[in-house]
């Protein structure tokens, strides 16, 4: 494949003909998609369609066997611990919080790359290190307040309801001030009320002060339909439909993938 053209409007993340094979198993096959700034892009599909593999490719946990990624038109080889520096943050399926830290410390941990003080400053407890801490704590507290969970700042995550923990995970991703936020099943395990609140939250993300584009993997169709500007439907690792939510809803291929006679087998991706 020739290197992707880089037109002026090639801002944001793009996948070009990405394929992933685990041995004989094709997890992703010729997947192309774009997440332009300020857009909420949803990836849907039945279980085992390759949604999580797609995320793992973007995060660098899985190397594509074919195709390439670009970020703002430049070739992009993601490595997990460099993502925050590049302005990409991700929430995990489930919660993935650090059980040994308080809620506030969990959120602060998401902005570790912005700390200016080095190891020596930390070892000797120099003011530089203290300033880092108070700056990040203040920012984390602001974010918790914005998400309405600041009263839990000093609690251990294990003691909190699932919905609150999910918000803490979101705050931890947002404190890095990402320009691209990857949400991996944010509605998983949430009740109807919480999903509605989450929808409002996600819709507002591009318009926040440090607004960001969103790439969303989700099962919850109502949420996806209500928050996404663009949708990509995966089935057996292939893009079977892409476009605006309204057009996707009426697409017979999508209906078939989800409901049709040919119900896909679960668990074809890890």
């Amino acid at each position: 494949m020739s290197p992707p053209a880089t037109p002026v409007d090639d801002q944001g993340l793009a996948l070009h003909h990405v394929g992933v094979r685990f041995g004989g198993l094709v997890a992703l096959d010729d997947v192309s998609l774009r997440v332009p700034p300020g857009r909420v892009v949803g990836v849907i599909g039945p279980n085992g369609a390759g949604k999580t593999t797609l995320f793992n490719v973007v995060c660098g946990f899985v190397r594509p066997t074919e195709g390439s990624l670009t970020l703002d038109g430049r070739p992009f080889r993601p490595r997990p611990h460099d993502l925050t520096r590049l302005g990409i943050a991700r929430t995990l399926q489930g919660v993935g919080l650090f059980a040994g830290l308080t809620v506030l410390e969990n959120v602060v941990a998401g902005a570790s790359h912005t700390a200016r003080a080095g190891f020596a400053a930390a070892l000797f407890g120099l003011p530089r290190s203290d300033r880092d801490e108070s700056r990040l704590r203040a920012r984390a507290l602001n974010l918790l307040a914005e998400l309405g969970i600041d009263k839990h700042a000093d609690a251990a995550p294990g003691t909190l309801p699932y919905a609150v923990r999910k918000r803490v995970a979101l705050a931890r991703a947002l404190i890095a001030r990402p320009r691209l936020l990857l949400l991996d099943e944010p509605a998983g395990g949430l009740g109807a009320d919480d999903v509605a609140e989450l929808a409002d939250l996600v819709r507002a993300l591009p318009d926040r002060a440090d607004g960001c584009a969103v790439l969303l993997v989700e099962h919850h169709m109502d949420l996806v339909m209500s928050v996404c500007h663009d949708l990509v439907v995966l089935d057996f690792g292939k893009v079977i439909a892409a476009g605006a939510p309204e057009s996707i809803r009426d697409d017979p291929r999508v209906t078939e993938a989800y409901l049709g006679a040919d119900v896909p087998v679960e668990g074809s991706t890890p």
């Binding site: 993935g96 941990a109 930390a122 000797f124 407890g125 120099l126 003691t159």
Partner: protein, 381 residues
Amino acid sequence: MTTTPTETAPATASPLRRLLPGAPAGRDPRGSTLLRHLAVAVFAGTLVVLVTNQLAPYQNLQVARVCAFLCVTAGHTVLVGLNGQLSLGHGALMATGAYTVALTQQALDERAVRGWWTLPASLLAGVAVTALGGLVVGLAAARLRGPYLAGVTLAVATLVPAVTTIFTGVFNGEQGLSFPAQTPPAALGAYFQPERWLAWIALAAALLTMLLLANLVRSRFGRSLVVVRDDEVAARLAGIPVARTQVLAFVVSAACAGLGGGVYAMLTATVAPGKFPLDLSLFLLMAIVIGGLGSLAGAVWGAVLLVALQDLPGLLTEHLSLSAGLAQRLEGNLALAVFGLVLIVVMLAAPGGLQGGVRALTARLRGAVRRRPATRRSPDR
């Protein structure tokens, strides 16, 4: 957006901050970390110095040993408790520091280099060499998990004493090395108790270790340690390099063990492989577990326990007037048996170790005083 932090500091302080004696609970860290920890160190130091003035020589030597062990347990508990890397090799790291100090002291003495600075210089050399050793072990450790990591560190624990018996030309085999003992400076008077001076030196080393570790634990590096322990995938996504953090933890922990080992060697002015058997590494681990894993205050409990339980068999055989054979057998095994028993009892009574028990108790008392229920803690601490 403005925030309105609640006025009262909630009783569930940060688990990290709860490690540190004297650190305020509450959201906004007030004042300088260094000054706060320095104040605690000066207070504790003054207290111990006052105590040593009242003690007999042997008791002062015990204080000195506690301080030497504290350097080791404090670094060990940060590695095992906060970073989740199990090391069974800290006795060997102590030996590395001890031998480096002995060799440096001998070399300086042979060249007739004298002065107050020779001890700090050799201790620094001990720290540096052990940190280097920690770097090597840490690089391997960062690729290993669980039982495999334990296996490698166990190999280190058995290897280092063996090295000293192989290269007898340098390390003088089982005999070990001896070097000039530390004597109190003339300024303290001719009749100053030498053991008290040793206790003071050991105390200075322990306080420095605790101060620096407390600073570190309180900083973003301390947070990174816990982050890496709790969830490696989430850690990487949060921009925290897992392997580098693990290696760093090992280096810091090894440096502390090196300092402790060096001070330990200084107390008797000798070093021999028999002082750093595999048992020692196991004792160190048991001590920090009993004290409370991941807690610097727990490391103090552990260090006290190490000395107390090591001296117990001798005390017992002395007072019970046992037959020589039985006494000898007891001397060898009683410490391990008692240590094991204490470990079981403490784990049953206070799963968070002694410091965890103290914490739970103070939380309950505080809760009773404030007439509100004691706060729940996260289960793993």
